[in-house]
């Protein structure tokens, strides 16, 4: 298998159909979905990778512990994000990625509605990939570490009063991110893979001393690239989020545990260009304290483009 013929596999792994981190912190104090749009695989040396992802999160499930309860208020809560990523392979083992986001939140209840939008957070990530799936290796391993930088507003206001943190376009806080990704080819061509990933996000305080809870995520799944341009992937992800804090005090009804099913497909338009569509569906949740709004489902559509080196 030449490097050129391996490219579609890279695209499949790269397409953000499956969240690296099913990160929609969509409890009652939601943040912006962001890291979920970042590609898990690393970019090879002298390659450029670009991806644009549109994410939509429906945050309408009212959950008491692990039980969904009817919401008699009929409210609407959504978060959408346009996330753009650029990665550059510095060497065959090292790559750097930058991710920018634009976020929109909508809330409606009764006759009241509110919409906020703006630049969200950015992520800067360094990736180290000591092993890739190739003719010489049937597994891939990547590590990433970096920072989340709040580029957007965290002081959006209405009627002269700051909106709650889950309506701000940016968290307003710096954060640290670490993740790892491992994949194994299940056939000679590497078109079938299983993979697992884990990530951890530590969040700082914003200017109003609000801190989103730190998060840890683990996922396990598989992907397959058909002989046709179609590819499919699915995984199960587990996410744990600590309670948010304000003035260093824990905020009730935030944080908890989520088990989600993520599934998606991609269509390879050319060796360099791929489009994809995926979704996240909750399997089980056990959320802290008495009542939280959380994600009912999420879907995402992506376009990715790889510019390879002339080797």
């Amino acid at each position: 298998m030449t490097m050129r013929s391996a490219l579609p596999l890279a695209i499949l792994a790269s397409l953000p159909l499956i969240p690296l981190h099913a990160s929609a912190q969509t409890c009652s104090c939601a943040s912006v979905p962001l890291l979920g749009s970042m590609q898990p695989a690393s970019t090879e040396g002298d390659e450029w990778f670009f991806a644009t992802t549109y994410e939509h999160h429906e945050i309408s499930d009212l959950v008491a512990g692990s039980s969904t309860v009817p919401d008699t208020t009929g409210r609407i809560r959504t978060a959408t994000a346009l996330v753009m990523e650029a990665s550059r392979g510095v060497t065959d083992k090292w790559a750097v990625s930058a991710l920018l986001s634009s976020v929109e939140h909508k809330r409606a209840i009764g006759g009241e509605s509110i919409r906020t939008s703006g630049l969200g957070d950015a992520i800067l990530l360094a990736k180290y990939s000591p092993r890739r799936i190739s003719l010489y290796s049937d597994s891939a391993l990547s590590f990433g570490f970096g920072a989340r930088v709040p580029l957007g507003d965290d002081d959006l206001a209405r009627d002269g009063v700051f909106l709650s943190e889950d309506l701000q376009s940016s968290t307003g806080a710096n954060g640290a991110i670490a993740w790892t990704y491992w994949a194994k080819a299940m056939n000679d061509s590497g078109s079938a893979q299983i993979y697992t990933s884990a990530s951890f996000t530590a969040n700082g305080d914003n200017s109003r001393n609000y801190q989103f809870g730190d998060e840890a995520t683990v996922s396990f799944g598989g992907s397959i690239q058909m002989r046709s341009p179609w590819g499919f992937a699915a995984d199960i992800s587990y996410r744990n989020a600590n309670r948010d804090r304000r003035n260093n005090f824990e905020i009730p009804n935030t944080g908890g545990d989520w088990l989600d099913l993520n599934a998606g497909f991609q269509y390879r338009v050319s060796e360099s260009l791929g489009i994809g569509f995926g979704g996240t569906f909750p399997l089980k949740r056990n959320l802290n304290d008495q009542l939280q709004f959380t994600t009912s489902y999420a879907w995402r559509a992506s376009v990715s483009y790889v510019i390879g080196s002339e080797r």
């Binding site: 008699t72 208020t73 409210r75 346009l82 630049l119 206001a157 009627d159 824990e250 008495q290 009542l291």
Partner: protein
């Protein structure tokens, strides 16, 4: 290679351009009377620095309207030591368990043709009831989703004016500076109110909303020292969450610790803002009230406590016996009503946060 460089340059430019375009509508926006962006559409008479968005949004905590009541004798949901609120409308005493109010905060009702609203803020443990205007097309109040000094801001659905529960004042909107007319609210335990008023009715859990009223929604907030929102000022003379009944005017308050009355009923004669008042309380029964001692004819009464005869709590030197709702049950002034003052019980931190000067009687 040149062609490759050109592609590399072009793609990120297009991506960033698209991103910035998508972000161009940035800022807060909205319908339903909201103001876009950071431009305040409302005028506030309170510092907005300490007005916070609670999270659920306007009406995100659903207020109750004309909820169902059941005879107190039929109660099986409220424990004897659970705190409740009691309001007297005509000859009827209505009881509101706090474990239901934790989830709804506002109850709109009509009694004898007159609408009123009872509100309870679980973050400050304060409760008040106000008469509302029967001439309003919609005399009901809702939960604004905003807090001032961590205390409930209600809004009236007729003018969309915002009302500070603890200041008992409209703080924003066309009714700004307007003060509501109070109705006396008694806070005590279910066992005490049941023994005082065996014919009372109790707010039922049949609210139309799926909530687990057995569970308190704010964890250990009632006992820890944590505040969920920033407040104007603090004071460590008492534990932040210590319950105290108090009286207030625009910027001053005087409070009396609820556990400072002892196991027998006590009365305290005091003056607040030039007004003679009486404070009567019994820690064992978890009940306390404050009334003006001055009657409409100018008479200033002197009171002694009555033991073990609740709801009758004090008698005056004229021989009148007064109950906890401030009504003379017997004596020469039978049927008379003591003048209500701006009083309620609340957590200590909330008194300090709302009023410039707070004097503590029992320290």
């Amino acid at each position: 290679m040149d062609a490759l460089s050109g592609r590399i340059t072009l793609v990120p430019v297009l991506l960033v351009t698209a991103l910035l375009t998508a972000a161009c509508g940035g800022g807060g926006g909205g319908g339903g009377g909201g103001a876009p962006g950071n431009a305040p559409a409302r005028e506030w008479i309170i510092p907005t620095t300490f007005v916070a968005n609670g999270g659920p949004g306007k009406d995100g905590i659903p207020a109750l309207v004309e909820p169902a009541f059941a005879p107190i004798s039929a109660n099986s949901a409220v424990g004897p030591f659970d705190l409740v609120l009691a309001v007297q409308t005509g000859n009827q005493v209505k009881v509101y368990p706090q474990d239901i109010l934790d989830w709804h905060e506002v109850v709109n009702e009509t009694a004898e043709g007159a609408p009123f609203v009872l509100s309870y803020c679980p973050l400050t443990a304060s409760a008040v009831a106000w008469r509302t205007s029967a001439t309003d097309t919609d005399p009901t109040f809702g939960v604004s989703g905003l807090l001032f000094n961590s205390n409930l801001l209600l809004y009236d659905r007729w003018t969309d004016s915002y009302w500070s529960q603890m200041l008992q004042l409209s703080v924003s909107g066309s009714r700004r500076m307007e003060e509501p007319t109070n109705i006396q609210v008694i806070e005590t335990t279910f066992a005490t109110v049941e023994s005082m008023y065996p014919n009372a009715v109790v707010l039922t859990r049949d609210t139309g909303h799926a909530r687990n009223y057995d569970n308190y929604p704010y964890g250990n907030y009632r006992s820890n020292r944590d505040l969920l929102f920033s407040v104007e000022r603090g004071d460590n003379r008492l534990h932040e969450k210590a319950r105290a009944i108090g009286i207030h005017n625009d910027n001053q308050a005087k409070v009396y610790q609820l556990d400072g009355f002892g196991s027998s009923t006590q009365t305290v004669h005091d003056n607040f803002d030039g007004q003679p008042i009486v404070v009567a309380g019994n820690s064992a029964e978890s009940v306390a009230v404050i009334y003006s001692r001055m009657l409409s004819d100018g008479t200033i009464l002197q009171f002694d406590p009555i033991q073990s005869d609740l709801p009758n709590i004090m008698q005056d030197t004229e021989g009148n016996v007064w109950d906890i709702f401030g009504t003379a049950q017997s004596g020469p002034r039978a049927g008379a009503q003591l003048e209500l003052v701006k009083s309620y019980s609340a957590m200590w931190f909330a008194w300090v946060a709302h009023f410039d000067t707070v004097e503590v009687h029992f320290n």
